[in-house]
Symmetry: C2
Subunit: 270 residues, 2 copies
């Protein structure tokens, strides 16, 4: 069993290390393309509307915080949080250190996502001559669902695991549900981001006349592919190992265990 397990871990690490590197390259790519898109075709960010005269204004610079903050929150920070227990991170080799890292990243992601929501709502509300309605589009429905689930998950996670109100067996019981919901929120969050990129791209196409091959449309299309790659890359780290048996090799490496094996305090040896 020990040699079987070692072989599985070896192959798992072989496949997991390139997945980790690829995922982080894609996350870096998302940040670069997002900044390029926002500061290029979209015209940059700002905190107040630009007066256009005759009672009209441009709230675009306020809105532009929305894609920047959301793409920082979901594929980058939340993606990293889901890697925290599973990626090869030699500097974080203790479970408590990974737990603090995971919680910190998720709280930052939630805070940035709420700021990102605020930016969109504020840009709609301050728009002149008429405000743009909030929460009517498919993107806003999906995004609202994701933020509600995410806030619930962070609250539940802090209650159950950070200042543990639950017994150790109850935490282990809840474990699969917590990780299921976390993966689901990452997936739905990246889907909501993809939908939002498409919404903005079509607005630019029909409203501002952006051509099919313009950077205004190409950059969000490439961003979507990188979002898909990050989803695949992060969730690959969560593949459960194959059931052990004669000749079976686990393709999924073992990370730091989510729940350490508690040695009984009155154990004789060590």
């Amino acid at each position: 069993m020990s040699s079987q397990s070692d072989a599985g871990r070896g192959l798992g690490r072989l496949l997991r290390a390139p997945a980790t590197v690829t995922t982080r390259l894609c996350q870096a790519g998302i940040l670069i393309l997002a900044v390029w898109w926002v500061f290029g075709p979209l015209g940059g960010v700002g905190t107040t509307p630009r007066d256009l005269g005759e009672g009209a204004n441009d709230t675009g610079p306020i809105f532009n915080w929305h894609p920047l903050l959301m793409l920082l929150a979901f594929p980058v920070l939340m993606g990293e949080a889901l890697l925290a227990y599973r990626s090869p991170a030699p500097t974080l080799d203790s479970r408590p250190a990974r737990k603090v890292y995971h919680i910190s990243l998720q709280i930052c992601a939630l805070a940035l996502a709420l700021l990102g929501l605020t930016a969109a709502v504020r840009s709609h509300t301050l728009k002149l001559p008429q405000p743009i309605p909030n929460f009517y589009s498919a993107h806003s429905f999906l995004g609202g669902l994701v933020l509600a689930l995410f806030a619930f998950q962070v609250a539940l996670g802090l209650w159950a695991y950070a200042w543990p109100k639950l017994s150790h067996p109850a935490r282990v019981t809840l474990g699969p549900v917590h990780t299921f919901l976390g993966r689901a929120i990452l997936g739905l969050g990246l889907a909501a981001a993809a939908v939002g990129l498409q919404e903005k791209a079509t607005f630019l196409q029909l409203g501002a006349g952006a051509g099919p091959a313009s950077a205004a449309l190409r950059l969000p299309a490439l961003l979507q592919l990188l979002l898909a790659a990050v989803a695949l890359g992060v969730l690959w780290h969560h593949v459960e190992p194959a059931r052990p048996g004669p000749g079976v090799v686990s393709l999924a490496g073992d990370g730091i265990p989510l729940f350490e094996q508690r040695t009984p305090r009155n154990s004789a040896d060590h």
Copy 2:
């Protein structure tokens, strides 16, 4: 251990049956809303362009097959295929029957998805006075990636499992990768569908002047929420059980095992 396992299965079945029912209600809801949207605000389907005179035509009825076929292929047929080994289906209680059901659903889903792609391309190409360009939007990039992955997965699955070219241990080794890729393709396919719904909705909003509260925009927004619910519902059936231990209860029920436990032929008892 036996009593522990029974408790886990009991609770698992308790949680899994309502998840199965809810998922299927959401799948039915998707079909109803898709038909309502296509035959209501979008004006129905057809196989030839409508001549509008002066060298112009309306290829909308050809295009409208695209959302119908894709929403039948991904959330409904592929969703059902991913439930095949995990849902309570008393009429399919043998593993070979579930395998045939799984394979048949996936082949139908792939065929309909390819037909759905054809409908979109044909409607673009036949458009007068000028054809609409293909494969420039974010939706088309993401959808193309999903279809390529899906075709690869079906080919790999048939090769590895249907006419097994792989040994039993090799099939077990590949198992987690096959299910990972299947879940990923479902997730990416539903995301691509959500993006496509948003693209079409924004075209209707800016091109045809559909209002924020019109059925043309409300129906795709509700469809997106149902797509998210189907993703959550199907993947809930794939939650791995909690690690066994004192007091730990598995919230994930056990379905039919993916690989039957082979009893040695020379086994003495039974």
